[in-house]
Symmetry: C2
DNA sequence: GCGGCGCATGAATCCAACG
DNA sequence: GCGTTGGATTCATGCGCCG
């Protein structure tokens, strides 16, 4: 790794599960060169915020005459659309080499670049799982009244291939979204206020991303201890949130000013305590309960009958927690429900019901009762 | 046009400004073949809802076991990603030939295809103006809990090139959005209820788009009388809305069932009356008034002084409606304001103020008075 | 101390007609 | 085609100053 100038941030953790990876460090280097030096199949996730290739024209003024501070940094300049395309495919290819087979990649962009990025992702054999829209609650207006206010950015989440596995903490997202499935459109304000890193009153990085965005991504798609690589580290939002969430991180960045700001910021970030992480990570709000346990514990007795909500199908409870229908078919509550409906799958907990004085109730209600009675 | 079987819908309007175009008709044909038969630089807008190339796996069932009705039609099947890419580039290239120099294209898609579409649009020399997110207020949930609820689709709006002109009815959009700039994220419900076309209780088209979506697009980016082409016409949402809004339309569609449904639907669509259209179209609430006209009409007399809001700059009104500052600089209200502020431009109407008993007032207030006094 | 007002600012592909 | 000129154009938020 002669090309890399490693810079440690804070204390190197005592446990280093992958000795060859430069964990919790910023590699000062060109992004592609640094990625080439990393071992294959070694990181769990990549979050990338590459240059957008904005191609801005002349100066822009607000209606009040004030000047708009545009992104004119050299790192966002490319000679042509083809040059940008080549750059995009090069770093995405390296990313694919570095990712574990069950890893995943997130890339953020705007209409200037995201279509090129997405097309490259598909061509390289990644499998897109979702595109996510970051709706900005406070976007910059369109000052000349020539287009729609550009009020969002787009993220792509992709696995390593069509059949590849990936991490998705469904329960964490549902909990975070007030017990509704998390949707593909997320609303956050742009990064500002105390969160925005400044030096002498001037923003350190023109496009610092909000921590809330990274928080949701890392919470949804990584496990504690997972390694997250950010090849366009900037001022280290990914590192700061990874540290907070008990994930390991690797940053790649060229600009010394950005690196210095990131180091300071990450050193100050406070990790959440482990019990908090465990709670957020838990795949289910409640532990699993087998139907047989309810039978064992007398909530339903063998020989009783359960029916579907319309009383079309009827089955007898057996001692082992399986069901037997009148036609002789047997199986678990899920299996028999699927068989009788001629469906590929079935949630037996909500499909099967039992008779009460107040009419039918789903057997799931008994599971709730059991949990209430047994949980501390 | 031997390959085309033209089908008229309703009465052909008596005024046909472009005799060579098959206006207000559905062309029963393959989309690329039909486009090849249309003259170059002849249509003002293309709205396209191409196949999404969904690549669905096996059947999908809801948690209650019911079957999810997926898009499995032959027209959404492609042999490979490359085949889809080639198809996309072919029709987009024809579209570019057909569009007028100051025309524009809209394409809708999902993450399955929109990145390929967007990349092709850029490669073909179109210039992306915005990407728009259609947020579905009632999306289908992710039944397996394996991903985020796919709750949006993406539209791309592009002009014919970087320097090309295009139509954007800024005021109409701002009015439609309660006097705030229209943003790039739009919320609509998916097409359902009475709007959803059905035959024998079964939906005619699997991906019928809501009319509200087309309404906003056509209102924003076309003028009355403009010609809108939809190369994937389906059940004719574009035609129905175009007729309602006083725009001309051309549809291309292969499936006879879709054509039949579209014909019936468009025949029943009621055009808005002309005065309504004019109101929605008006670029400004008020006509232009030159500053000199106010001087001519005695609202301000030559020799009086105007100042900026902070009283930093002061200028004398001259008889011809120009201003002269104390330092001797002269020019229009806009020009002098820009000069004195050392700014590239300036809106003189809001920059310059005059003294009243209640303090300073912008000269724009006098323009309003003038308009009130002279407008019928 | 608190509320109100003014100012600054954020990934921006940001004018159009006429001579 | 190009240079000139008239004139149209902004939303949410945070911060600091002032009363």
């Amino acid at each position: 790794m002669g090309v890399l100038e490693k810079i440690k941030v804070g204390k190197r953790p005592t446990i280093v599960p992958m000795a060859e990876l430069p964990l919790d460090q910023i590699l000062r280097s060109d992004c592609i060169a640094a990625m080439r030096a990393l071992p294959a199949k070694s990181v769990d996730m990549i979050f990338a915020d590459p240059p957008y290739n904005l191609q801005l024209g002349g100066d822009l003024a607000r209606p009040d005459g004030s000047h708009v501070d545009a992104v004119t940094d050299a790192w966002d300049k490319f000679d042509s659309l083809d040059a940008y395309d080549a750059f995009t495919r090069a770093w995405l290819a390296e990313a694919k080499r570095i990712l574990k087979d069950n890893g995943a990649i997130w890339v953020i962009g705007s209409y200037h670049n995201i279509f090129k990025v997405g097309a490259a992702i598909q061509d390289l054999g990644y499998w897109i799982l979702n595109d996510i829209v970051w709706r900005k609650s406070n976007p910059m207006p369109n000052f000349k009244g020539t287009r729609f206010t550009n009020a969002h950015e787009t993220l792509i989440w992709a696995s390593m291939g069509e059949k590849a596995r990936y991490t998705f903490n469904y329960r964490s997202m549902k909990t975070l979204n007030d017990e509704l499935q998390m949707r593909s459109d997320w609303e956050f304000p742009v990064c500002g206020g105390p969160e925005r890193l400044k030096k002498d009153g001037i923003k350190v990085h023109p496009t610092q991303k909000p921590e809330a965005l990274l928080y949701r991504i890392l919470l949804a798609c990584t496990k504690p201890g997972d390694v997250v690589l950010d090849p366009f580290f900037g001022t280290g939002t990914t590192g700061a949130v990874a540290k907070r969430l008990g994930r390991r991180w690797i940053g790649i960045e060229r600009e010394p000013d950005y690196i210095a700001a990131a180091e300071e910021r990450i050193a100050a970030a406070l990790p959440l305590d482990e019990s908090m992480l465990k709670t957020m990570q838990s795949p289910k709000a409640a532990p699993k309960v087998a139907f047989g346990v309810l039978v064992e514990n007398g909530f339903l007795t063998p020989g009783r009958f359960v029916v579907d909500a319309r009383r079309k199908h009827r089955a007898m409870i057996r001692a082992d927690g399986s069901l037997e229908s009148l036609c002789g078919a047997t199986g678990s509550i899920h299996k028999l429900g699927a068989t009788l409906q001629n469906a590929p799958s079935c949630n037996g907990w909500t499909y099967w019901h039992f008779e009460t004085g107040e009419g039918l109730k789903p057997i799931d209600a008994l599971r709730q009762e059991y949990l209430l009675a047994t949980q501390p």
